[in-house]
Symmetry: C2
Subunit: 154 residues, 2 copies
DNA sequence: TTGTATTTAAGAATTATTCTTATTTAATTG
DNA sequence: CAATTAAATAAGAATAATTCTTAAATACAA
């Protein structure tokens, strides 16, 4: 998506939800769209502060939560630390590094097709999304001596 | 597993890791094994407090982290709130309710077999585990008006 | 341009987790 | 069984993450 297109999408969705288009919100949206991986509210705050030195963390965080409510991004599953956001709306899946906490996107047509077992559907009224996650150690971390949060029995 | 068996497993694993078998640790292990779903450290603390009114949250939490390190339990992926633990070591997968945060286990032979794409393996030195997660709304929550943390574009 | 509901900044409050230190204790050894 | 000692605990402080409260500012509809 082009930058202009992205901005139009942002304006459009704000209007649909009766959200005022403020410089702060626009700047948060910009920062999000240019964020590489899965930024925390503080990651976005640090970026936006360059443009708006007086902006508060609360405003950035509140804005991100608002964006989540209206479907401009999602909150990512994680094992620790602060909440992290995902601006990537392509179907995709995640690999978590249990040492550094990095979350890497990957795509898989096969995994996109997984269906919840019928048994499970007796306990849930609605299924909204699914994702496959792999846990492991990334290349950068393989030689670190840090302990990690164990996520299987091996 | 019988209760006596479970305790033996606990003693055995503690000994293997040179951990002293204290009443506090034993009580935390008990509480864990009888916990239904995916308890937080505070959930366990509330239970253990009945038996040991002087125990501190820190001791419970530290004990749970120690248990995680030695493979007696795992930390569960989540979208919010406090860290949650999983004493269930059977292969299984999760359904998350985005309104109440409940995490429900389910099994699937199919999902147990998923393999990470080769492309991905160029970025990761080791894969330790995998899991499929479904996000949705549970039966108890379907009539609530609470907002929820959105996790897909629909 | 004005009116108003929304949004923001600032700072306090709350919640979750970890650290520091003095005391206690489990487990080893004599 | 008693002495020894490294490990574990309780208590409280500190840190980290998030949310709340309120007064001032502002987007935007009329
Ligand atoms: Mn992602
Ligand atoms: Mn589970
Ligand atoms: Zn890593
Ligand atoms: Zn629910």
């Amino acid at each position: 998506m082009q930058e202009a297109e992205q901005l139009d999408r942002f304006f459009e969705i704000c209007r649909q939800h009766n959200l005022k288009i403020t410089p702060q919100r626009t700047s948060v949206y910009h920062a999000l769209m240019s964020a590489e991986n899965h930024p925390s509210a503080d990651d976005i705050f640090q970026i936006v502060k360059h443009q708006y030195p007086n902006i508060t963390f609360d405003t950035v965080n509140r804005t991100l939560m608002t964006f989540t409510q209206i479907g401009l991004l999602t909150i990512v599953e994680s094992y620790r630390g602060s909440r992290r956001f995902d601006p990537n709306f392509e179907d995709h899946h995640h690999m978590h590094c249990l040492k550094c906490g990095r979350i890497v996107d990957f795509t898989s047509d096969e995994f996109d097709q997984l269906k919840a077992p019928k048994k499970l559907m007796q306990k849930f009224a609605t299924v909204l999304s699914s994702r496959v996650i792999f846990n492991g150690i990334c290349l950068e971390c393989q030689n670190k001596t840090d302990k990690f949060y164990r996520n299987n029995k091996s």
